[in-house]
């Protein structure tokens, strides 16, 4: 059972959001359209705060994350849902409860939706395969594999500023190897036909065989952002390093940190994005982060709407008709 079938029910409705690699273009466009309605706050058939009334949503986070969890929580509450935060203490996992057992227990509590973040790649798919009830799953990040809601909100943000996707050059900079955000972004951008996707990373942080994804690979920042329309800076994930990938943060900053000066290589109307939280003055200087090029805060704003759209689309699909 591949993820492509796993995400949809037998009527072809989107039941779960696990990955953007296997999402159909139809569903992706519908989610983006629905996002627009939530952003504009008009043309909605029902009152927003009633859309998920009486639905129970559980945030099941096996990894610390205030930002994503809060974003989902705010989105869910705006839709009128009940939200429970189930923070799995690492130590209780050590007490022996398997992930499969945790899921079974939660299913027995009759929730409508589980939003899961887990440190193992493939965890969201694994969880979905355990399900015995009708509960829906949103993957809020599984290891280094995918973070579909982030990919969608980044795609939405880009399309908002640069509607002609097939004349666009998007450069993603940073620790691509360990980035679930980058993977989801690449799938989303490819699906909607963004014409050129570039990756910039030191060789030690570039996944092997990545050219097969139809992307251009650079280890030099200025070359990678030459004439770019969109630059996405990724956070240097210090805590994910297993071993020594870089000699020092200082050297990384010098080679890959985005400054106003380096930004001159990109297009004049370039937009700078970042999934957050930013390491100020490491991968991105304060001047850039606080400049008009940066739409980082707008990403957060759209993030809430995208998450509302995802949840509404999964639980109340008729809303998008």
């Amino acid at each position: 059972m591949m993820t492509v079938n796993l995400q949809e029910d037998d009527k072809g409705n989107l039941k779960h959001l696990l990955s953007l690699e296997y999402i159909s273009k139809k569903h992706l466009l519908k989610i983006l359209d629905l996002t627009r309605l939530f952003v504009d706050q008009k043309n909605l058939k029902s009152e927003v705060s009633k859309i998920l009334a009486n639905k129970t949503i559980i945030n099941l986070f096996f990894e610390n994350s205030t930002r994503t969890r809060t974003s989902f929580e705010i989105a869910a509450k705006k839709l009128g849902a009940n939200v429970i935060n189930f923070n799995v203490d690492v130590s209780s996992t050590k007490k022996g409860e398997t992930l499969a057992d945790t899921i079974q227990n939660l299913e027995a509590m009759s929730a409508d939706l589980l939003i899961v973040r887990h440190p193992a790649s493939g965890a969201a798919e694994f969880i979905t395969k355990q399900l015995k009830t009708n509960i829906s799953i949103i993957n809020a990040g599984d290891g280094c594999h995918e973070h579909p809601s982030q990919g969608l909100l980044d795609l939405y943000t880009i399309r908002h500023h640069k509607p002609n996707l097939n004349e666009l050059c998007v450069t993603i900079v940073g620790d691509i190897m360990h980035s679930r955000v980058a993977r989801s972004q690449i799938h989303a951008f490819s699906l909607l036909g963004i014409s050129e996707i570039r990756l910039v990373a030191p060789s030690t942080l570039m996944p092997p065989f990545v050219e097969k994804w139809g992307v251009k690979v650079f280890d030099n920042l200025t070359a990678g952002i030459e004439n770019a329309d969109v630059i996405i800076m990724l956070r240097l994930q210090k805590e994910r390093m297993q071993g020594t990938f870089l000699p020092s943060l200082e050297e990384y900053k010098r080679l890959y940190g985005l400054t106003l000066d380096k930004l001159n290589h990109a297009k004049k109307d370039v937009i700078v994005m970042h999934p957050g939280p930013i390491n100020r003055d490491l991968e991105i200087t304060s001047e850039v982060a606080d400049s008009n090029y940066s739409i980082i805060l707008q990403q957060v704003f759209f993030g809430t709407a995208v998450r509302m759209a995802i949840m509404a689309y999964l639980l109340v699909p008729e809303i998008s008709v």
Partner: protein
């Protein structure tokens, strides 16, 4: 006790024999394929339309998995016999491997199962790679002649060298899993799939670096060596090039490695979690080429049964291993396209692995032990979980269409398995 196996097609790869003939057995030994004088069989087996082959020799099976408990040992050995295996090399596990415990388990298993067990000694204590194991007691008590540290790398090269020196002194052969200890920390082959899935991969150079190092240690210590479970086509090349300098080195591959590749892992299905990992399609073809060139002379099951809990987690949190006894014969049979290649295919699981193990089994020459596998090479079936006899249901081959079914297994002339016909 005189046994006659009649009407079958006898294939004995050791003698390059492929002939329709009867097989005569007396007192647990092969007598001949021509009728001896005055032979009145006590028992006759009708092998019409069946192949009569030496009993299969499996170079590597984990029959004791602590997660399954020692009660499962008998079940696994029974499953092996049912799969046509008459000699099985018992792979140690990295716990419960104190020599005393291993001796006790193997001795008990031998008393309960007729299968010929060749116990492999763990090279270091608990295979942790920190301390030499008491190899002599294993040699004396259960006739161990083969030693391994399994997939657990020995970090300290100086210690590893001393282990080989010591094992060599006692006449052991080492079963080597070539790998670099630092590059081996991943969960699957480092390649397109690992990059896509966002999982740490094990690069091919882990195995090739390991192979180069092992060759040097073999030359330095003089130990007899066999390379296990090749996974990379590059390792095949390295060993091929090393042949002139190392003419006695042998190599094997797990049967499943010839059929699966990294793309199978892209579903995150934990039944494809194996070590060494399933590599690229070109690696798979390289392994098949290694069999054709005879660099790889044996195929084993590399059976590792796991309880469902060991596989029921996200991929990187599961235990490696495939439950593989039941698919050994069908997967090897499928390698052959004609009669010529059938003899070669059967050699991979009969006299070649027997030679590697230092066993006299695996052949049907006069005087050999009457260890025989009689099978229907044309019987096709869908391999179903409910028909599976191992304690471990961790195999990706369920619902595969397989060909080749064991009808009888004989050990020392005694029918230890006969397929029930109801």
């Amino acid at each position: 006790m005189k046994i006659l196996i009649t009407g079958g097609r006898i294939i004995d790869p050791c003698q390059k024999l492929d002939v329709k003939a009867d097989l005569y057995i007396a007192d647990g030994k092969i007598v001949s394929i021509t009728s001896p004088d005055d032979f009145h069989p006590d028992h006759t087996i009708n092998a019409k339309n069946l192949i009569v082959s030496p009993g299969l020799i499996d170079l590597s099976a984990t029959v004791f998995n602590p997660l399954l408990g020692s009660e499962s040992i008998e079940k696994e050995l029974g499953c092996a016999v049912k799969s046509g295996i008459t000699t099985l090399a018992w792979m140690p596990v990295n716990s419960h491997t104190s020599p005393a415990m291993l001796i006790s388990m193997v001795t008990k298993a031998k008393s309960k199962s007729p299968i010929n067990i060749v116990p492999i000694a763990p090279l270091t204590v608990n295979m942790e790679g920190k301390q030499l194991n008491e190899l002599n007691s294993l040699k004396e008590e259960i006739s161990c002649g083969i030693v391994t540290n399994g997939v657990y790398p020995i970090m300290d090269t100086a210690l590893k060298r001393r282990c080989y020196q010591y094992a060599n002194m006692l006449g052991f052969k080492v079963f080597i899993f070539p790998q670099d200890p630092w590059l081996t920390k991943g969960f699957l082959h480092e390649g397109e799939v690992s990059s896509r899935l966002g999982l740490l991969g094990i690069p091919s150079c882990s195995e090739t670096l390991g192979a180069y190092q092992e060759l040097e240690l073999i030359a330095d210590t003089g130990i007899a060596a066999h390379f296990c479970r090749l996974s990379s086509s590059k390792t095949v090349e390295i060993l091929q090039n090393a042949k002139p300098t190392f003419p006695t080195i042998t190599a094997d591959v797990a049967a499943y490695q010839l059929y699966l590749n990294e793309i199978d892992v892209s579903t995150f299905n934990a039944n494809f979690n194996v070590l060494p990992p399933l590599r690229s399609e070109s690696d798979r073809r390289g392994l098949l080429a290694g069999i054709d060139s005879k660099l790889i002379s044996a195929v084993c099951s590399y059976h590792i049964p796991q309880p469902s809990i060991a596989k029921n987690s996200p991929f990187s949190e599961t235990e490696a291993g495939i439950s593989a006894l039941e698919t050994l014969l069908p997967l090897v049979l499928d390698l052959s396209k004609d009669d010529q290649s059938l003899i070669h295919a059967l050699s991979l699981i009969t006299h070649k692995p027997a030679t590697i193990l230092g066993s006299h089994a695996g052949k049907l020459t006069s005087g050999s032990p009457a260890d025989i596998c009689i099978f229907d090479p044309n019987y096709s079936y869908t391999f179903k979980k409910e028909n599976s006899c191992s304690s471990g249901k961790n195999t990706p081959f369920y619902n595969w269409d397989l060909r080749g079914r064991v009808e009888y297994t004989l050990i020392d002339g005694k029918t230890v398995y006969q397929r029930s016909r109801n």
